[in-house]
């Protein structure tokens, strides 16, 4: 991502505009496909349409968390050598995690709504549901850690370590249906297994995944920019503070002119 002052001051670039427009168009198409074109399920009926948001959302969340982990790793490797401490990667990690949390939340919400329709309750103490909540909370904790005031590099390293550990939860969520007896659907698309859904549903699902990916990417780019802008603002502030501290008045304590 380009980092010169000029373009990081703008929030939109051709790339993000294209991404944004693509996202909108694709989103509309996805709604049409998901709501009208794809057929209702034999067992689930119309409720199955929740699938097209529920499943792609968590995929994108997974993807974001993978991105967070990779960039955290890169940050840890680079932060010693680079002049700016490789903060670029820290920003990517942060914005990807935010997006991941949002989409995990979306999966949770759609899942709960779906559960109300098919299982009759919003919540079941099912392994996948519980592990998903844990995933959600773990990354919320990660974001909280990022908020704590500290030096950016140090905070970045701290967060990076937590990101790497937190990632354990992703495979646990994914395999939870195999490891525990669950109510929740087994993986329908998994490496080395034949997809269990077919036809329009299958294609609609793949298409939704693509759309959500575009939206996710667009969000990540924007979050990245906002974070960068905040940093620039902080740097400007610091410059002012430094020059005012340098010129602190050279008197004793009777000093600061406050003593009567």
């Amino acid at each position: 991502m380009p980092e010169s002052m000029d373009d990081s001051k703008m929030t939109a670039t051709p790339l993000t505009r294209v991404l944004g427009i693509l996202g909108i168009v694709a989103g509309v198409l996805m709604a049409v496909l998901g709501l009208f074109i794809s057929p209702p399920d034999v067992v689930q009926g119309e409720a199955v349409r929740m699938l097209y948001l529920h499943v792609p959302s968590i995929w994108i969340a997974y993807g974001s968390f993978v991105l967070t982990s990779i960039s955290s790793l890169l940050f840890l490797v680079r932060s010693r050598r680079r002049e700016d401490g490789g903060r670029h990667y820290d920003r990517i990690a942060g914005s990807a995690a935010e997006v991941g949390v949002v989409f995990t939340g979306l999966t949770l919400i759609t899942g709960m709504l779906w559960g109300k329709v098919t299982w009759g309750t919003y919540w079941q103490w099912d392994a996948r549901l519980t592990t998903t909540v844990l995933l959600f909370v773990t990354y919320l904790g990660y974001l909280a850690l990022r908020r704590l005031p500290a030096d950016p590099i140090v905070r970045g390293r701290r967060a990076a370590v937590m990101a790497l550990i937190s990632f354990i939860n992703v495979p646990i969520v994914h395999y939870s249906v195999d490891w525990w007896r669950t109510l929740h659907q087994k993986a329908s698309l998994s490496v080395g297994r034949r997809p269990e859904i077919t036809g329009e549903m299958y294609w609609t699902l793949l298409y939704s995944a693509l759309t959500v990916t575009i939206v996710g990417a667009w969000l990540i780019v924007h979050r990245y920019r906002v974070i960068r802008l905040e940093e620039i603002r902080d740097e400007e502030n610091l410059k002012m503070l430094i020059s005012s501290r340098r010129h602190e008045r050279p008197t004793g304590s009777a000093a600061d002119g406050e003593v009567s």
């Binding site: 919540w123 079941q124 103490w125 099912d126 392994a127 519980t130 909540v133 909370v137 904790g141 909280a144």
Partner: protein, 222 residues
């Protein structure tokens, strides 16, 4: 006296607002505990429904203990407790003020926790009034008791582990009564929930009286 109580409580809540411990850390933590419990109990739905009341109060107890700890941590940050003890504020006001701020924080905690338990454990409220009464009584009892033992643990050393040890046996009756009252309020059992709730009020009242009478003694370290 009221002015002093409010002054102290306001100071505590201001620190709390700045450090964001109660809502920023303790509340999510207890929520987490509710989730973890549920899973540790094997997600057995009927079991959870039965246990909802008890688990709720265990979580409040845990969160409340942390909040109590924190309430005295802010008084002993300089390494000792002298300033709190030298405070020109009257002893009764010290006790009530600390209790008030703790009460407000525990209430906030309960406000977060209740909907979570209702939702996650899939239970319905059949008697809102009872639920609220029991919740309030529990909050009073926990806060008053917390301040009573908290001040003692703070004066002694190794407080972070001593406090829960002192607090939990004393609060066990509240925990029990609270669980029963909640079970009635949630329609799990038809027992006399109100008599449990009144027991809680009685316990809270006893602790308040004991606290007012004994706080002066407990404040002294040696």
């Amino acid at each position: 006296m009221l002015a002093e109580v409010l002054l102290l409580a306001r100071k505590d809540l201001r620190i709390e607002r700045r450090a964001k411990v109660a809502l920023g850390q303790v509340a999510p933590l207890t929520l987490l505990i509710v989730v973890v419990f549920a899973f540790a109990l094997d997600a057995n739905a009927p079991l959870l429904e039965i246990g909802a009341g008890g688990l709720y109060w265990v979580a409040v107890l845990y969160g409340g203990t942390l909040l109590t700890q924190r309430a005295f941590e802010i008084e002993t940050e300089g390494g000792n407790f002298d300033d709190f003890r030298m405070s020109p504020i009257k002893v009764h006001s010290l006790f009530l003020g600390k209790s008030l701020s703790l009460f407000i924080q525990i209430c906030a905690l309960e406000l977060v926790l209740t909907p979570a338990v209702l939702l996650l454990y899939d239970v319905q409220v059949t008697d809102w009034l009872l639920l609220i009464a029991a919740g309030a009584a529990g909050a009073v009892a926990f806060s008053v008791c917390g301040v009573l033992w908290g001040v003692m643990a703070a004066g002694l050393r190794v407080r972070s582990t001593l406090l829960p040890l002192l607090l939990i046996p004393v609060l066990a009756p509240v925990l029990l009564a609270g669980s029963r009252a909640f079970e009635t309020a949630l329609g799990i059992r038809a027992d006399a929930g109100w008599s449990w709730a009144s027991l809680m009020f009685v316990i809270a009242a006893v602790h308040t009286v004991v606290g007012l009478a004994a706080f002066g003694f407990l404040l002294e370290e040696n």
